[in-house]
């Protein structure tokens, strides 16, 4: 346990340090916004990992509804929580970027609103898992996850479907989209590193969920025997 804790702490610090160094020192300064644009190198990769985690949650929930597998339920719970953490960083870093660039912290445009709704859906998923009546939790959570995932493509497409204050897509957004090569390299490396960070958190959280499930069954068995 001590070795796992030390390794994961050092790995997380190393990954965050590399991404910060690349974003703050290596990436060129953007001509219009200046240095504050560098928030982009944390904001977008965090959004990517959140979306990835919600996709894993969606697949694991379908698998649970089909097979009633305890492992897939644990994966669904873990991925939703990790996704909420990354989505929270998106919702925090976005307004910090918006204040100096737009002059306001928040506006109810399609991208921001759908992202906030997405965060609320998965926070309610976690609340449901915590407070639902024993025995119904997994099925209710899986059903919510399947419907809740519908917001992910809406968030992704919102800046394509609607005229928004949020910047247009920098990748796959048509003829006027794209990044300068030096910015693109940093962005892609940060995207890869954040994906690794997300997978590390997901692996640890899954392990914790499985241990909690094993402990609960051990307590139940002990209670049946009148031991604990």
């Amino acid at each position: 346990m001590k070795k796992l804790a030390t390794t994961s702490i050092l790995l997380t610090i190393a990954l965050l340090a590399v991404t910060s160094y690349l974003a703050l020192e290596v990436a060129p300064t953007e001509a219009t916004m200046g240095d504050v644009q560098r928030i982009f190198y944390y904001h977008v990769p965090s959004a990517w990992v959140a979306g990835l985690c919600f996709f894993v949650n969606f697949l694991a929930s379908i698998w649970y509804l089909w097979k009633r597998s305890a492992a897939s339920d644990a994966l669904a719970a873990a991925s939703a929580e990790v996704g909420v953490v990354f989505c929270s960083v998106v919702l925090l870093t976005g307004p910090i970027w918006a204040r100096p660039v737009w002059g306001i912290w928040w506006t109810w445009d399609a991208r921001l609103t759908t992202t906030l709704v997405l965060w609320l859906i998965y926070v309610s998923y976690l609340v449901l898992r915590r407070f639902a009546v024993e025995g119904q939790t997994q099925v209710l959570a899986a059903a919510l996850a399947v419907f809740g995932f519908a917001d992910v493509p809406i968030v992704y497409m919102s800046i394509r479907w609607f005229r928004t204050q949020h910047p247009s897509p920098v990748m796959g957004g048509g003829a006027n989209s794209g990044l300068a090569p030096a910015m693109l390299h940093v962005f892609l490396i940060n995207l890869a590193i954040f994906t690794v960070l997300g997978l590390v958190f997901l692996g640890l959280r899954y392990k914790l969920q499985m241990s909690q499930n094993a402990l609960e069954s051990a307590h139940a068995q002990a209670a049946l025997k009148g031991v604990a």
Partner: protein, 58 residues
């Protein structure tokens, strides 16, 4: 606040969120491990096979 101030704030917030979450997971693991050991001790004291032994036997 200057542009650099907002940039620093965003990175500090992100670092705190990720390291704080990692700490939460690791503390959760430690708590589960301690509860498991406590349960095994209680079971052993009451003459039942500890859960950990049962797992390995199974």
């Amino acid at each position: 606040m200057s542009s650099i101030g907002f940039l620093k704030l965003a990175y500090v917030v992100a670092w705190l969120a990720y390291l704080g979450y990692l700490a939460r997971i690791l503390l959760g693991m430690k708590k589960v491990q301690e509860e498991r050991q406590e349960l095994d001790r209680t079971m052993a004291a009451n003459g039942a096979a500890p859960a950990a032994l049962k797992r390995s036997a199974g």
